[in-house]
Structure formats: structure tokens, C-alpha cells
Symmetry: C2
Subunit: 148 residues, 2 copies
Amino acid sequence: MLSKKTKYAINALVYLAKGKRGEAIQISRIAESEHISRKFLEAILLALKNAGVLSSKKGMAGGYYLLMEPSEINIADVMRLFEGPIALLPCVSHKYYEKCEECKDETTCGIRNVFAEIRNETVNQLKKATIQNILDRENILEVAMKSK
Amino acid sequence: MLSKKTKYAINALVYLAKGKRGEAIQISRIAESEHISRKFLEAILLALKNAGVLSSKKGMAGGYYLLMEPSEINIADVMRLFEGPIALLPCVSHKYYEKCEECKDETTCGIRNVFAEIRNETVNQLKKATIQNILDRENILEVAMKSK
DNA sequence: ATAAACTCCTATTAATTCGATAGGATTTAT
DNA sequence: ATAAATCCTATCGAATTAATAGGAGTTTAT
């Protein structure tokens, strides 16, 4: 399961993507709308900023705004930022590789082989899931529900 | 990432599947071979027994043995047993469903829609990954390495 | 200039989960 | 009987997660 940090990050990104591009939005507005602790969200937005996803404007009328296009922000990257590796085993992670303590031979390990495949498919899937993709689905679903 | 519990469970299952069917193998033998704390492994095997994957024989010359076929034991079920839901959000879990605290409308939530798809594909993938599948891969890999 | 309204940053805390350990009860082959 | 195994419950320390606190720094309206 996703940690609350990751979930809140996605909520905030979707919220920002729904607003006007370039317009700075204050932490407290997002926190209120999405029911997130303001101080907790503060740390999350800061991390997204340091990762280059968001940018911010300080001072009065300041706030956060998207730096990347919603179509370029994907769940895989957001998850890596807040949860660490997507791979289920350290020995199949690209960015956080670590040898399994007592693996006799990595090249012939069936477990590793299976989990390597799982990792690859999962990453592909999570990369396809962008913020833009989420917005598009929301629109489709809303239209579909109205015509019911 | 998988917890050590889940990882150890898979290691133990592969170990048991490599041995003779029906033969009871002691916890300490598995623990030694796979470098797992004996007491910790005890709890893991007990859980697998209660889940109907393993069975055991008490007393002298006792131990654990597979109750299910290696081709019927899949990673999805093992993960559910030790990690809980496979879904990344509670609102898209089948077996552990929970409403998201502040979701205005579940039927039009784009986030939910995306993560529902991710869940389905992930479950399919993890169900295909059986213990038998791991053994098969190991054999293939070993043959391939020898001919190098 | 100054005060208000923001972000930025570090530290702390409370609660939960994870990995491991301890010890005795129960069962069974010899 | 006894030795060797599983069964079961309880506990503990460490790590992680979620949240809070407080103030330093920055910008802007007035």
C-alpha cells in the first residue's frame, strides 16, 4: 500500500494540475481542499520541489505551481521519491540495487528472475500512469456518469 | 519492497519444493540452509500451515511439508498473507476494501480508476509467478549458464 | 519601513510496524 | 520415560511513519 506521503503527493499534484498553469497556490489551500495536515503537506511539496516537479514563489501571494507538464509527471517517479525502490527485491532494483545477503548465485536464482520480470512490468505500468492520464480519466468518468 | 517475512516464506517454499514430496523437513534445516533465524522462520511456517499451503508432523522426525502443488502456490497469495493487500490504495482492494477518507465521489475518481487498473494487472502478474515457475526458471538458467 | 503572508528548514514526538527472541505447552517416535 | 520436534503466546528493541512545533528567511502590499 502507498504511504500517506505518496498518496497526498498525488492528491496535491492532481489538484495543482486542475488549476491554471503558472498560478501559485498556497499550501493551506491545498491542505484544506484535500484534507491533509498543513505541516505534513509542507514537507511533501518541498520534496516535490527539490525533485524538480514543482516550483514555488515565496512571500505574500506566494505558493506552489507545477514545473513539469502533467503528462510528464508519472506515478513511478512520485513513488520512487517517497517510497524508495519499486522493485520488490533489492537485487532487481535498478536505482537501489543491493545484493541479497545469502544468494549463492544471482545469475541462476529463479526468485530473482521472476521478480526482475515483475519489476519491469510494474515500472512500465506505473510510468504510463501520469497525472494527465488521471485527469483524462476523471473527465471521461464524469461524462459517463452524467449520461446515466 | 517485500518484508523479510515474505521473502523468507518464498525461500522456504522453494526449498521445500526442491525436496521429496511428502517428506517432513525440520525448521532448523531450512533455517540453516537459507540463513534465517530459526524462531522467526517458525512463525512464518506456522502461518503458511494455517493458510493451508503447508502441513506439518509433530514430534520426533517431524517437520513441514508442502500440502499444495508448487504450481498452485503463487506469489500473490503469499504476499497477501504476509503483507496484506496488493492494491496500492485501500479503495481498490478486493479483499481489504476501505473507502478513502475524503474521496468526494469514488465512481468518478481518476486516481482510483488508475490504481484499480494497476491493481488488476499486478495481481495477474503475481498469480502467474508460482513456486513451480521459479523452479522451472532456475533449471533453465542453470542449463544456460553451464553451456557458457 | 514595516507588518503580513508566505515558503524553507530542522528537530522532536507519538504511534505503528518489523524483525527477532524467549519460554513453555504439546505431540510423537523410539 | 525421554528426546526431539512443532505449537502458541508474549515481549522487546529498532526502525519507520505520520504528524507537530517553532522559527528563519523571503516577498509584497500598504
